[in-house]
Amino acid sequence: MSGNGDLLVVRNLKKYFPIRKGVFSRVVAQVKAVDNVSFHIDRGETLGLVGESGCGKTTLGRAILRLIEPSAGEIAFDGVDVLSLKGAAMRRMRRRMQIIFQDPYSSLNPRMTVLDIVGEALHVHGIARGREREERVKQLLERVGLASRYVNRYPHEFSGGQRQRIGVARALALNPSFIVADEAVSALDVSIQAQVINLLVDLREEFGLSYLFIAHDLSVVRHISDRIAVMYLGEIVETAGSDDLFDRPLHPYTEALLSAVPVADPTRERARIVLTGDVPTPIDPPSGCHFHPRCPLVEKICSEVPPGVTDAQNGHTFRCHVVARQFPDEATTPVESAAP
C-alpha cells in the first residue's frame, strides 16, 4: 500500500449476484463476479485493468462508482468511505467520479441533443443553467475536439469516434478527479482509436485526472497505463508497473495472456503459450487457485489452497504457489490474512 498519494483505495471488494430458483426464489448459487479485490490508484495515476470477458472487470468498474451496489468490502475515495454515503452525499461524490462507456451507440440517448447529453449533469447538480450551461457545454465540446456549433445536434449525426468524444465531454462536465474508462476505445477503428487515446492522455495531464482504464487490448493498456492489474475469474492475480508487467510477467496466466497477443511484426518468431479451454464459469469457480485447470505449471497444492499475495518488490505483486517459491517465504502473505 503506497503513501499519501492514494486517491482511491479498494479493499476486499466483493460483488456476488445471487441466482434464484423456485417458487420462493431461493438463492441456489452465487455468481462471484468480483471476489475479494484490493487495489489502489494514486492521484494522476492510470491503472489498467485487463482480463478476458467474464472475468469481472466491468462489474468491478461499476461497483467502485456504486452503479452496481457492492456486496461487501471497502472503497475509500480521497479518504471518504464511499459505501457509507447516502442520497445527496453520494450524489455529490459522483461529481468527482465519472465513467466513459464502451459502446458509443447505446450509451447516448438518441432523443437528446448533445447540449442535453453533456449538460444534463450540470443541470442536475445545479451548477449551470440556461446560457451559462450552453457556454460550458460548448467549451467542453471544443476541448474534446468537436466544433461547438454541434451543440444542438443528435447522436445519430455523429460518427463512432465523435460519439465517443461526446461521451468523454459528458464525463468531464463536472470536473471529476477520477474516471472509469470501460473499454472506451474498443469499438473504434484503429486510426480513430489513436485520436481518442491521445485525447484521454492530454486530458489526464491537463486536469490531473486518474483513470481506471478497463480494456482487453493489451497494447492499448500498456500505452496508457502507469500500472496494470490482471484479473481472472473475479480476482486480481497480478499487479505491476506496466513496463515491469510486460517485461517480467510472474503469474502464468499473465504470461499466457501476453504471449497470445498478435504482434504487428511478421518477422518476429516467438514461443506462444496456447492455453487450453475457456474461462470457467464464476458460478462455481475451481477450488484453490481459480486458474489451476488451465495452468501449465499446476501442482497438487494449487487445487487445494488459494494462493496468497506475494510481493515481488517495486509494487509488483502476484498470486501463485509455484512462482512464489522463487521468492523468500516472508514475501508471501497467506490468503486468510491477505491485506492489499
Binding site: 478476458e52 496508457i224 511478421p266 516467438r270
Partner: protein, 350 residues
Amino acid sequence: MPEASVSSETPAGAAHVGSPLLDIQDLKTYFHTDDGTVKAVDGVSFQAWPGETVGIVGESGCGKSVTALSIMRLLPMPPGKIEGGSILFDGEDLVTASPARMRQIRGGKIGMIFQEPMTSLNPVFTVGNQIEEAVRLHLHLRGKEARDHAIDMLAKVGIPSPEARVDEYPHQMSGGMRQRVMIAMALSCHPKLLIADEPTTALDVTIQAQILELIRSLQSELGMAVQMITHDLGVIAETAHRVVVMYASKVVEMADVKELFGRPRHPYTRGLFRSIPAITGGHDRLQTIEGTVPNPLEFPSGCKFHPRCTFATDHCTKHEPELLDLGEGHLSACWLTDPSGPMYDPEKVS
C-alpha cells in the same frame, strides 16, 4: 508447457506457380439506395493461390466485407449489385454463375466463417444437425455417415468430447467453442478456399490464439487458400502471406507481408502502422491519421485519401492515382510512388 511456434514459413503457393485459385479483376459492387449509389467496392483486383493466406485489412466501411460477400454472392440484391468485373474461382466466373451453381460452390468449394458465431449459427438446431446439413448437400453422405463426419470435424477443430457435444445447441457453448463449430462447418466439405471475415474479433486473446493456430494448422493439412479479413494488423502479421490494404472501396497497397510491414509505401498504410500502440512498449504520443473515413455517398475527388493525407497536393485532389507495381509484387496507389507521375518522390514514403 504446450508451446506452438509462431512462424510464417513460406507456403507451397507463395512462389505463385501455376494459375491462381481465385482471380478477382476490377470488381465493382454498388448499392443503389434512395440517397444515391454507394460504390462499396470500386475496381478491386487481387489473386489468391492455393495454400496461400491473403490478408485483407482496412477500417470499417472500406469494402472488405462486401468484397467477401461478392465472392460468395451473398449480397442483398437489391439494393446491392455487382456492376462489373470478374471473380474467377477455379476457372469459373462466379459473377455469372447461376444461383443453383452458387449453392453448390457455397459451403462446398468455398467455406466461410463470419465474425459473430452466435448469430451465424441457427439456435434451434443442434450443431451436429447444422454440420450434417452441409455434408448431406455437398458430400452426399447420409445418416450415420454424415453424423460420424460431423463428429470427426468437431474433433478436428479441438472440441472436447465431440460425441457428446454434437447433440448440443449453440447456446450451450462458449464463444470460442461456437467459432470452432463455425470452422468445423466451413471445413466439413473440404473447401479449396476459406473466407474468414473477422473470425476472432469477438473473441478473447487467448481464445483468438487458439483459433488462429487452428486455422493455420488446418490450412497446411488441407492445402486450402485462406482469405483473412480483419482490421487487426497483429492478426494479419501472424497469419497472412500477402496483404491487401483497402481504403474507401479501393485497394491502396498490396505486398508480401514482410515487405508491407517492413516497408509500407502508401501514406494510409504508414499512418495505420503508426497509430497502433506497440506491445513492446513506449509511451510516446501516438501518431494519428486526422479526420475520419469518408462517407461513401460523397467520396472526395481525386485520391480518396487526400483530405487526410499529410503529403496531399493540388494534383491529388484532382487526379486519382493508379495501383502500380513498384517491383516484386509490391503495389501502391499513390502519386508519390508513381514513377511516370508529376509528383514522383519515393523518398517521402520510404
